[in-house]
């Protein structure tokens, strides 16, 4: 966030009108606040980012399903597609949630608000499902 602010990209990003996709940390930066360094983020999504706690291996590394999907980003991907995740922090559930994933509890694995989209997983590393999602994004 410091990097974005120093270059005044924080304002610029929020004013973008074209479709924007944030991946992994890119999605978290579009949220309201993160526990990582107790940092205020861009606030495009009305979600807070927290660290995984409890009896879990952190980071979550590997393939998990995205469920309760909504919106065109997931078109043609079936009910519970697999995606590749690598992260220690997660976005809470909220009105902007368009996909949920379970790792010691449900979190937002995808978010959207107007022209902004965010995915916690890495579509570029998620085999055919990831490629399909990226194609869906490009056709928005």
């Amino acid at each position: 966030m410091r990097y974005l602010r120093e270059r005044k990209l924080d304002q610029m990003i929020k004013e973008l009108k074209q479709p924007v996709l944030g991946i992994c940390l890119g999605m978290q930066l579009l949220c309201k606040h993160t526990e990582e360094g107790d940092t205020e983020c861009l606030g495009v999504f009305d979600n807070n980012v927290r660290k995984f706690t409890g009896n879990l291996k952190v980071p979550q590394v590997g393939w998990n399903t995205a469920t309760q999907l909504s919106g065109s980003l997931f078109e043609g991907l079936g009910n519970d597609p697999w995606f590749y995740f690598v992260h220690s922090y997660y976005a809470s559930l909220g009105d902007n949630t368009i996909a949920r994933t379970d790792y010691g509890g449900m979190f937002s694995s995808a978010l959207s608000n107007d022209n902004f989209y965010g995915v916690q997983f890495h579509p570029e590393k998620s085999a055919e499902a990831g490629e399909k999602l990226l194609r869906n994004f490009l056709s928005i």
Binding site: K57, V58, V61, G62, N64, Y84, V86, S88, K125
Partner: protein, 252 residues
Amino acid sequence: MLTKRIIPCLDIKDGRTVKGTNFVQLRDAGDPVELASVYAKEGADELVFLDITATHERRKTLVELVNRVAHQVNIPFTVGGGIGSVADVSVLLDNGADKISVNSAAFKRPELVNELAGEFGSQCVVLAIDTKKEEDGEWYVYLNGGRIKTDRRCIDWAREAVDRGAGEILLTSMNHDGTKAGFALDITAALSNTLSVPVIASGGGGRPEHFEEVFRIAGADAALAASIFHFREIGIPDLKRYLSQYQIKVRL
């Protein structure tokens, strides 16, 4: 729910896969990219490329390979072998590697793990340990591809490396490697049950039930193997269907 991962490992020398393969559909069995693409299509969850080249030209060839893999393979991959500095890692990640694995260099200079985790994040730092069970019943760390024994216990070094920022442990049992008699369940369980990061079990996987055991009994997060996949002794789709039948969560 997070799945268990199946990871084929490709040994690379001068930019080519060694040990050979038994894939009939490959045009060029020595091309790592072609082999990697087949594994990705078959449902491999990740790939590991282990560079065993010893020449000075190695870095350039490896970097070119990493770049080609990143362009043509759509699943995550780790690159290891001879990595000893932040600069080594930087060029590999810049060319598209998702993670790197460090072994001997990190043992000889443990601060390397802190440096890599600090610079690039723990998520891309895999600590590889070659370990062997000695007559005293303890598992010790070995270096330089298993040629040099150390007095350090595997579990102690693994704990230290995780404290220093390693994001995953790739554990190879020298007692089991190449035997196809099953993974080292005891040391895998010891690490998996006590470390806060994922553990990849390696060495000894020869039959589907070995994979089932290492996940169910030893609690491994991932299992790695090489020749059984290269020589089609076990197909990845068959292995995953087998695991699924035994209630091991895998990506199908």
